[in-house]
């Protein structure tokens, strides 16, 4: 087997393999990935909506809360699927139980490389400073 311009072409292929196999090399030797363990509130067992809903749609809920409370008719109370009423407030409602941002919000957001802009306006809670 003879390759023409073999040196250059093999160099190119090595670069190709280097780039495409980099994720495998980056993770090589590391322990199996597990989803982060969140620090759950101690005195409250149920969130505003179901765990499944909060897992995938909390950003949508927060977005709606902001719009309803600040950009709509100043509606400040949210009635959940069970008929229970909550004040629409990130700091007074959500952060009352989930007190520590670093132990709760950031855990998943860091792993999923999500940077929500909540804290552009809200006062940064204690957990962020750690």
């Amino acid at each position: 087997m003879k390759l023409y311009n073999g040196g250059k072409i093999i160099t190119g292929l090595v670069i190709f393999l280097g780039i495409f196999l980099a994720p495998l090399a980056y993770n090589a030797g590391k322990a199996a990935y597990t989803q982060p363990k969140l620090k759950m509130p101690e005195n409250e067992k149920e969130c505003i909506e179901s765990k499944e809903f909060m897992r995938t749609k909390h950003m949508q809920l927060l977005d709606q809360w902001r719009d309803w409370a600040l950009r709509g008719e100043g509606q400040r109370f949210y009635v959940n699927s069970k008929g229970k009423q909550f004040e629409m407030s990130l700091q007074k409602t959500c952060m009352k139980c989930h007190t520590n941002k670093a132990e709760f919000c950031d855990k998943c957001h860091n792993d999923a490389s999500v940077t929500p802009y909540c804290w552009d306006c809200h006062i940064q809670p204690e957990g962020l400073k750690k």
Binding site: M1, K2, L3, Y4, N5, G6, I9, G12, L13, F16, L17, F20, L21, P23, L24, Y26, N27, A28, K30, A32, Y33, T34, Q35, P36, E52, R55, T56, K57, M59, Q60, L62, D63, C108, N110, D111, A112, S113, V114, T115, Y117
Partner: protein, 341 residues
Amino acid sequence: MKAIYSLILVLALVVIATLGAGAAKMQTIFAYCVPGTAFAIFVIGFVAKVIGWAKRPVPFRIPTTGGQQQSLDWIVQNKWDNPSTGPQTAMRMLLEVLTFRSLFRNTKVLLKHDDGKNPIVAYVSAKWLWLFALLFHYSFLVIVVRHMRLFLQPVPQFIVAVEFVDSVLQIYTPIVYQTNLLILAGAGFLLARRLLDAKLRYISLVNDYFPLILILSIALSGMYMRYIAKVDVMAIKDVVMGLTTFKFKAVPASIDVSFFVHISLVSTLLAYFPFSKLMHFGGVFLSPTRNLPNDTRMHHHENPWNNPDIKPHSYEAYEDEFREPMFEAGLPLEKTPEEAA
């Protein structure tokens, strides 16, 4: 019709993934086996294809490229269009690969009329293909790079930065990535020009439509996951990390079926890649009109096909061989038989 065949093929893939991972409960196969195999086919197929190309000899240089070649000192050479040295050729390759200069030269034929209403064939510049091809390719690149957030742990700062720039407009929740819209515009245009331009439609084949529709479906299924289904990203990272660390676990039940559709379409693209026109990804680097310097007047290029047993045969030797018959036929000779004797 060919576009419809391609559409049906892609829809069939969607149905297979939906039924397979949804109704038939074969999540493990669709989450691990299919993408793993497809990636192996992609990498091995890609390398094999390029090695196959490397075995093909290049019979001669192809110097007929745009721009003034290197000539007399007082004639300005167009170094990037008609390079004569290695670095100049590297510059031409770089510009071709990164900015698609060949597409920038795209022209369109028009039939115009002069004042006397006589028809004139005109060639005018057509930059749309270049613009949308750039949008499409760079969006695709950014999308692949930012998907690495699901493949790497911890997520490198570079990936976070790409994410930030791509979602910098902060529109909608979850935030819309600009590249999502740009890739739809880019691929949409590339598909529309094949469908709407009669000349292009005539030369378009299933293997032109299929990758376009496949990539559009991948983009749409990804956007569906993010903006409509709002899939459980952490569970998906769990599965994807299982793939990249080879530590497979049971697929979490919370993963929406749209993830399996998306990953099946991507797997199809990966497995199809080495056997399709998409190999221009590797092929652009081996384009003879782009990567060969125009140095035919400086270096002798030996055609690798030449049979070494066939020796050069000069005119003098030819005349020596046929002098008598040529003389009898009255053909002009360098040396007459008397002079040669």
